[in-house]
Subunit: 234 residues, 4 copies
């Protein structure tokens, strides 16, 4: 279901959704890391909540704003002319503001100092390849879902990210706004601020390749009847 | 699907559903805590059953009573005039009675003394913020689901709680009746009786903020045709 | 979807489904127990496959035989006159034969001696209460699903059992045919043969209580028009 | 939904899907194995991503190529005349090429040497029985889904493999292309190249038995009206 909604409410939906998404990623990382010494268990305790909340957020906010929560998703929709260019900057700003708020809320809930800076090193070509692959897969999932099973998009995205947390070496950030928000937490899910540019460039490249491939692979069939004949039949 | 049902059956559905929900929360907490020394593993063994049973209970009892199982959900529906005010007190009493029965059933199944009092401290502003956030998210999920995907509500609530067990520092009680029922078990999922008031106040506040926000964010579009013209056309 | 199918194919479906279900329960128990020292991890490695295969088996075999795989489910459907009494004994024999085959297949796959006898003690009033509760919940889930969301029954049963593995002290056998099949494996999921009668009696009692409650709680609404008037209108 | 698509795009879909599937299997195996000493935890960290990505890939690529990603699935569809014989070899080559690429991508993401050879021994009659059972179950799941719930096939396959990772002693390869791709990684999910023939023979046998059984069990009902009478009525 999609409804015509004013830009104000759409931006609130983008900010709110990104905030809850980041609060979930950061908060569950803190919780899991605190409760176990087994890092795979921590990652599982980070994965399951993230996949679950994505299903929820895309289902309840998708009809309002499209539930991007992600600047590269917004970028690709603008390139495909499914979003007005004038909405791109407001969307991205709402996502970043929401994401940062999500980190602050997670810190408040876990009684940590609100303002932190991550010291977790995430850099190097292997990590960048991983981020490009992760974002390529995310966009392919979204665009394939839009083409064939719109109602399944919340589940598709939730399950894709569930998988990507494990099969990519970077644990699949795949989202510049979430990456920025995760740079201001020195907890399980953090990323060093200086490592952000490499991640964001890789994410943009992965998204663009996916958009190009999807444009060909998921193309609607051409009308087989030449227009001149169709007219003649009229 | 919703059917017109007499109040007696609706109250039985509320009590039964809350009882099975609490038996699951308390029982799986006892089971998990008994089987492992890894607290994250215990929380996972508590999370998965809770999310799963919520899907089941809301699917099979929702058409009878609405499947609130939660006084603040009942309160919000009454405020939205989707539940008669006269049904509020009976609903809440059924939920509390059901919840308490659920704890007793869990104790009986695990051969523990039926009557206990929890010694688990859950208090302080960080915990209260967490409960307010948890309940805010739960109501937003329910009201967003009601607006856009009624058939998905059982899955939405099950997955929301799955996430919230991990991303909130309080493990997301988000329910006064369940909190009361959990105060009489001195096991993994318990809460000290004296900590109940703080939790319940936080839950009510979170629910009210969500109801207010949802009233605006999920509002139906205004009829674009001014009433005077519509009348003139009549 | 349901199709009219001859009894031969229905019995093959019951035997095959119960065999795959038991092979999953026993096999995953062996696998999980072999791979970890953490018993909660073993139970999780037993739970997830069981819930998953139930969704699969009920979806693909339900349209053929109803996908009971369980004598007490067959019994309740016969009591409700949704299954001919003459089919009850063949169904139950097929379920038991299938279940036993499933245990043998699991042993063959894991290179264990085919014929074993379980030494795992599962007895006492707490275990029996747990089995009665587990079976009560299973039947309530099935009958509620049949009333309100037939298409969701595979997911309902899969998720109910996922929860019940953890919230009942007995890990929820809830099925006499599966219990018999599990008595001939001396591995993680076994049950001592002498403990079978207590479990089976508890399962039958739990199922009967659920059937009685469901008969009232999920009753179709009475026709509000008295028959005499309806006749007069004819 | 299914669309008429040219062979080129179908082969790209098969190669891409198998690549992402193998990257997920191999990548999540590397990640999980690296993060924990508990082998059951590693298998869980391998299982959840695999099941999740199967849902995604079959949903978004199924309408293009049928989403086989598996030579024995392609073989069975050809035997059932649901795929032209001329497409069989191209499909299988695309699957193998895709699978091998998937392993290389996983190695690149985790900064491992691209070319490896597995040393993991997986042989013997118990393993072969396990592979035959695993592939039997996979084909039964697919063919049952095609008969009764086409829209549920992505979920059916994802959940079947989730279960089969645990209930079969071989962790359920059930796919010759994936097996080949896993022979060139010396990580958690690898298989020694010399053990491939035994696995592939077992997979083919399991698939053929399933196809034969499904041909009978899932047969459409015969038209009850004899053709001669139907003609007479015309």
């Amino acid at each position: 279901m999609s409804v015509a909604v004013d830009l104000g409410r759409r931006l609130v939906a983008e900010a709110l959704g990104t905030a809850i998404l980041v609060a979930t990623v950061v908060g569950s990382g803190i919780m899991a890391d605190h409760l176990t010494d087994d890092t795979a268990m921590s990652l599982l305790g980070n994965t399951i909540p993230t996949g679950a909340i994505l299903f929820v957020l895309i289902t309840i906010l998708g009809p309002i704003s499209g539930a991007h929560f992600n600047p590269v998703v917004t970028m690709v929709f603008a390139l495909r002319r499914e979003l007005k260019v004038s909405a791109v900057a407001p969307y991205i700003l709402a996502q970043i503001a929401g994401g940062v708020s999500g980190t602050l809320v997670a810190h408040a809930m876990f009684d940590l100092s609100l303002l932190q800076m991550s010291g977790t090193i995430r850099t190097g070509s292997a990590q960048w390849i991983a981020e490009a692959v992760a974002t390529f897969g995310l966009l392919l999932t979204i665009l394939g879902g839009l083409r064939f099973r719109v109602d399944a998009i919340p589940l598709l995205v939730g399950l894709y990210i569930t998988a990507a947390y494990w099969f990519t070496a970077s644990t699949s950030f795949a989202n510049p706004a979430v990456a920025i928000a995760r740079s201001i937490t020195d907890t399980f899910s953090g990323i060093r601020p200086t490592d952000l540019p490499g991640f964001i460039v890789a994410q943009i490249l992965g998204a663009l390749v996916a958009a190009a491939l999807a444009g060909w692979l998921f193309a609607e069939r051409r009308n087989e009847v030449p227009p001149i004949i169709a007219q003649g039949a009229g």
